[in-house]
């Protein structure tokens, strides 16, 4: 599956969509990330790989505001978002999924999507309470978007089911749809292909490429090297909290350090 | 569809419960005897009806008496004591008044305002009693007063010692509530003088409830006026409190005497620790520090309660015969509340009902109220005769403990006192 979409290739001089500068994060004195720099260009598909414990998920959490890094900066569209709250960062256009799939089990599939959209529709809480006319309009719009997303991931039949009744693969698709729902610019996926069957891995790959074609940028953590090689335009390798390599898939495969740390030669 | 059915089931439950709860009011209950826990007076009287009563006559209408008392919760000891006294009184009356069997209806007010409203509502509307005894705690009594007024059913109270009540009953607006127990203010003046005559300074310790706090409000300002300084004022949750810290403080203040306002519940514990710390001051008390129950609780070491001087109304010292009868009946000692319950029933409600019957009137709440208001009964603790604030002035008594037994010291006349400002 060699689908390199040249249309999405970033212009050489374009500023990066996301830039991470010298991030350091420690837990109880143990260094999880050490002076890591990285960037993601608009429209790019970047993978972050490395052995478990190398700091990939920590990096995700630092970017999305769940962790406060001790040093360094995270810039999104040129603006610093380092110490912003997670919800603020989401509203700026970065969404994410989680390694251990997180959905709201007692909400219906449709409501799971709706709740992901609604925060992006209006800012003012008071307005939300009193301006009911607008709410109805928003609500209709939210349902429309949700329906189209359900169609995209193939969960239309389940729309009124409680999310708890979905099987693992379907939950993953729902979580993916939720990440798309607020129309973000950058989508960060944490192991999208883990624990699902081969058919669904292919579906996931297709989805990522399709959505990317519409101009969305992806930052992906993934263990399945088949997936990584197929969908990445660029790969960043972390080991022991440090960036040890960065480059095109083919280059990464040949890199001796990566060979040693990751592929296990 | 599922929801609609659910609603249906729910409605059935609501309706059945609500209507079942109201049933007695919708159709007045047939005269069933109440199962008072210790006695079945009604049953007994029906059979042992004295021959003087017209034997051929059909059983007469029952007299329904409601008990609005804290029967569970922290103040349960109070309601329970009342009820023991009332039950004994009914037994001594033979379970009936002039052939009218007495029925008791319980309503637990838990000693709180909200539950007191519920309790009086039940007695007035469901049980449709002609007269009530109780209240017990001042706050419960205060909350029940509007309902008593609206329900137009007389109520006799023996232990709500809050002076506020005085201004609100009788000519104060509520003619249905009567107090045979005197309040803190009425008792306080005499006792403050008595204490100030003997000591120059006092440490005050009270139960942290309506009883102790209410007394504090009276004694702490009154004592200095009588000439005794109050060096400390402390309140403790009754029962589990460790008084040692307070006793240490009293020691450090070096007061001549200690005034404790405690029920039987806490007094024994307090005095035990008082002796432990080695304090030797004179102890003045209000509440339950010379009662039989106190002495029962300190029987392991009679020195604990030795020499306490206690001031109270309804104290067995004034009516030792009652104390004996009570002990014979229950194998337990008399306390103020047990005393109050007995006097409320035997010397207040019963004579009033007899008066109504003697006049050939119907036993309506209103007639009973008028009869209570007109009462003038001599008892061992003085007259039960109500003033225009529906307050009776029985005698106060001074008692002390000697060798583990209560000893009667003196009687004190209680007089009406100006209640303005309360």
């Amino acid at each position: 599956m060699e689908m390199q979409h040249q249309s999405n290739q970033p212009g050489v001089q374009q500023p990066p969509l996301l830039e991470v500068r010298g991030i350091t994060k420690r837990f109880d004195g143990v260094v999880a990330l050490h002076q890591v720099n990285m960037h993601v260009n608009p429209g790019e598909r970047v993978s972050l790989i490395g052995p478990n414990g190398s700091g990939k998920t920590t990096m995700f959490n630092c970017i999305t505001g769940f962790y406060r890094p001790e040093e360094g900066q995270v810039l999104y569209k040129g603006k610093e978002i380092t110490y912003k709250r997670p919800d603020k960062i989401v509203l700026q256009g970065i969404t994410r999924t989680f390694q251990n799939v997180k959905i709201f089990p007692t909400l219906t599939v449709l409501d799971n999507l709706a709740v992901s959209i609604q925060q992006h529709q209006e800012e003012n809480l008071l307005k939300r309470v009193f301006y009911t006319g607008g709410i109805k309009k928003f609500e209709r719009k939210a349902v429309e978007i949700s329906e189209s997303l359900l169609e995209l991931v193939g969960l239309v039949q389940m729309r009124n089911e409680r999310a708890a009744s979905l099987v693992y693969g379907q939950r993953k698709l729902l979580e993916f749809a939720c990440a798309l729902a607020p129309d973000p610019d950058l989508i960060m996926l944490d192991e999208p292909a883990a624990g699902v069957n081969t058919a669904m891995v292919d579906q996931m790959k297709r989805l990522i490429l399709d959505v990317n074609k519409q101009g969305k940028t992806f930052l992906i953590v993934e263990h399945n090297m088949g997936v990584v090689m197929d969908i990445s335009q660029r790969i960043i390798v972390l080991d022991y909290g440090e960036k040890i390599a960065e480059g095109k898939p083919a280059e990464i495969k040949q890199d001796p350090r990566v060979q040693e740390a990751y592929f296990g030669k | 569809m599922k929801k609609t059915l659910k609603v249906f089931v729910f409605l059935v439950v609501v309706m059945s419960l609500a209507l079942a709860a109201c049933a007695p009011a919708a159709t007045p209950a047939p005269a069933e005897p109440t199962a008072a826990p210790q006695t079945q007076p009604t049953e007994a009287t029906k059979e042992e009806m004295p021959p003087t009563a017209v034997p051929t006559e059909a059983p007469k209408d029952p007299i329904k008496i409601g008990l609005n008392l804290p029967l569970t919760g922290a103040l349960a000891f109070l309601g329970e004591g009342y009820k023991m006294g009332i039950v004994l009184a009914i037994e001594e009356l033979g379970g009936a008044i002039q052939g009218h069997p007495i029925e008791l209806y319980d309503a637990d007010n838990k000693g709180t305002p909200t539950d007191s409203v519920n309790a009086v509502r039940q007695l007035v509307d469901v049980n449709q009693v002609q007269v009530m005894i109780g209240g017990g705690a001042s706050s419960a009594t205060l909350a029940s007063m509007p309902i008593i007024l609206e329900g137009e059913t007389p109520s006799v109270d023996g232990s709500s010692t809050n002076p506020t009540i005085y201004n609100q009953i009788g000519v104060g607006g509520n003619p249905w509530l009567f107090r045979i127990g005197t309040d803190d203010l009425i008792m306080g003046q005499g006792y403050s003088d008595y204490i100030a005559d003997r000591v120059k300074s006092v440490s005050f310790v009270g139960d942290d409830n309506q009883f102790g706090r209410g007394a504090g409000q009276v004694y702490v300002p009154l004592l200095p006026r009588s000439g005794a300084e109050v060096l400390s004022e402390d309140y403790f949750d009754p029962g589990t409190a460790d008084y040692r810290p307070a006793l240490t403080k009293i020691k450090s203040t070096g007061a001549d005497a200690v005034l404790i306002v405690m029920t039987d519940q806490s007094c024994a514990t307090f005095m035990r620790q008082f002796r432990e710390v080695g304090l030797t001051q004179q102890v003045f008390a209000r509440g339950g520090c010379t009662t039989g129950l106190f002495n029962e609780n300190t029987k392991d070491d009679p020195k604990i309660g030795e020499g306490i001087i206690e001031f109270s109304f309804f104290m067995s010292g004034s009516d030792p015969d009652f104390a004996d009868r009570f002990f014979k009946r229950y194998n337990q000692q008399v306390t103020s509340h047990r005393f109050a319950g007995y006097y409320a029933m035997y010397h207040t409600v019963a004579p009033a009902i007899e008066a109504v019957l003697a006049d050939g009137k119907e036993l309506t709440p209103a007639n009973i109220r008028d009869a209570i208001a007109a009462l003038d009964v001599d008892t061992a603790v003085g007259k039960i005769k109500f003033d225009d604030h529906n307050q009776a002035y029985t005698k106060g008594s001074l008692t002390t403990n000697k060798d583990g037994k209560q000893v009667f010291l003196d009687e004190v006349e209680l007089k009406p006192i100006d209640h303005t400002g309360f």
């Binding site: 505001g65 997670p86 919800d87 603020k88 989401v90 509203l91 989680f98 997180k102 709201f104 089990p105 007692t106 909400l107 409501d111 709706a114 709740v115 609604q118 939300r128 709410i135 109805k136 928003f138 939720c178 729902a181 607020p182 | 569809m1 599922k2 929801k3 659910k6 609603v7 089931v9 409605l11 609501v14 309706m15 609500a18 079942a20 709860a21 109201c22 049933a23 007695p24 009011a25 919708a26 069933e32 199962a35 569970t72 319980d106 709180t112 305002p113 909200t114 409203v117 519920n118 007035v124 509307d125 469901v126 001042s138 706050s139 909350a143 609206e150 506020t164 942290d208 309506q210 209410g214």
Partner: protein, 335 residues
């Protein structure tokens, strides 16, 4: 709004409830019945407000009686000393209790789960003890007495009616239940309710879809505080006496029982739990008083409670649904 069967569904139960509640006095007007009904209304409002926090946000606050008590004491001051009208008292109490809830929420939402529950319980005890000791402010253990009863003055009336009869109280009180139900439904069946659910189920995930958990927790807490504050204000004017015991643990216990035995986070559950457990005690007492002593009534109450917890894991609401499902199953087979 397109009126579909779906969108009307949540309104069926409250409307049926209200109709029944409104009509019951036509059949039985005894003061006792009305008092029971007033208690049902009071507990329903209390339980609904409690459920907004405990059921929908998932933070079991054992400190809700604080708002009730302070609302009541505030009313005693406003109505007694300043002569403010009943509605004014309720509004002012609601406002200040919402404010207090916001402040308390900022502090307490730093802790979670059991710690939150026990922490708020601690706060409730502190408040009750202060009310008990601050005699100048609250009357202490001797209570604040003589709160004026409401006076109703409508435009067409010449003079105000003094509300003192139970039936007057009841019908004046009922609209407050309607308002509470409306607020409860408006909040929980809307996008705010959806966000509440999100916060309750997974705060991390909620943050990841742009929800700021603390904000929604505060909204729920403040709403709950406002409703309970107004309720306390009402209760003060109905009973006319306010004591520290009005903030006692028993109230929290009753709330826990109503909401969690009924079915937390579900309107049907709260209504079933609220109605049953506010009728049960007076029912046990009025009907059972001939047969049991109050202590035995309480024991029975405790046994019912433990029994429900042991044998009905999904609450009374869940039990009702299960029975209905079985009924429906049988009916379908029959047809």
């Amino acid at each position: 709004m397109n009126i579909s069967k779906q969108s009307l569904r949540p309104f069926i139960l409250p409307i049926v409830l209200l109709v029944i509640m409104a009509l019951l006095p036509l059949f039985n007007q005894s003061g006792f019945t009305l008092n029971v009904l007033i208690n049902v209304v009071r507990w329903l409002i209390f339980a609904l407000a409690f459920d907004l926090v405990a059921g929908h946000i998932g933070s079991v606050s054992l400190g809700q009686p604080i708002f009730y008590g302070i609302g009541a004491y505030l009313t005693a001051y406003l109505a007694g000393k300043l002569g403010l009208g009943w509605l004014g008292c309720m509004l002012v109490s609601a406002f200040f209790m919402a404010l207090l809830a916001l402040l308390a929420g900022l502090a307490f939402f730093r802790i979670r789960h059991v710690t939150f529950a026990i922490g708020t319980l601690g706060a409730a005890i502190v408040t009750q003890l202060v009310a008990n000791s601050a005699e100048k402010l609250t009357g202490g253990a001797l209570c604040t007495t003589g709160v004026p009863r409401p006076q109703l003055l409508l435009p067409f009336m010449e003079s105000a009616i003094k509300i003192s009869k139970p039936i007057q109280f009841y019908y004046l009180f009922l609209p407050f239940l309607i308002l509470t139900l409306v607020v409860y439904l408006a909040v929980t069946k809307s996008r705010i309710g959806r966000a509440f659910t999100a916060v309750r189920e997974d705060e991390v995930r909620a943050s990841a879809v742009g929800i700021y958990p603390l904000r929604y927790k505060l909204v729920a807490f403040a709403l709950s505080g406002a409703l309970i504050g107004a309720l306390g204000s009402w209760q003060a004017q109905y009973v006319t006496v306010i004591c520290p015991s009005d903030m006692a643990q028993d109230i929290t216990t009753s709330l826990l029982i109503m909401v969690f035995v009924g079915g937390a986070g579900r309107l049907s559950g709260v209504i079933i739990g609220g109605v049953i457990f506010s009728i049960l005690p007076p029912f046990l007492q009025a009907v059972g008083s001939k047969y049991f002593q109050p202590a035995y009534q309480q024991i029975l109450y405790g046994l019912i409670l433990v029994g429900v917890m042991l044998y009905m894991p999904d609450g009374l609401d869940g039990l009702a649904s299960r029975i209905l499902r079985r009924f429906r199953g049988i009916r379908k087979e029959g047809v």
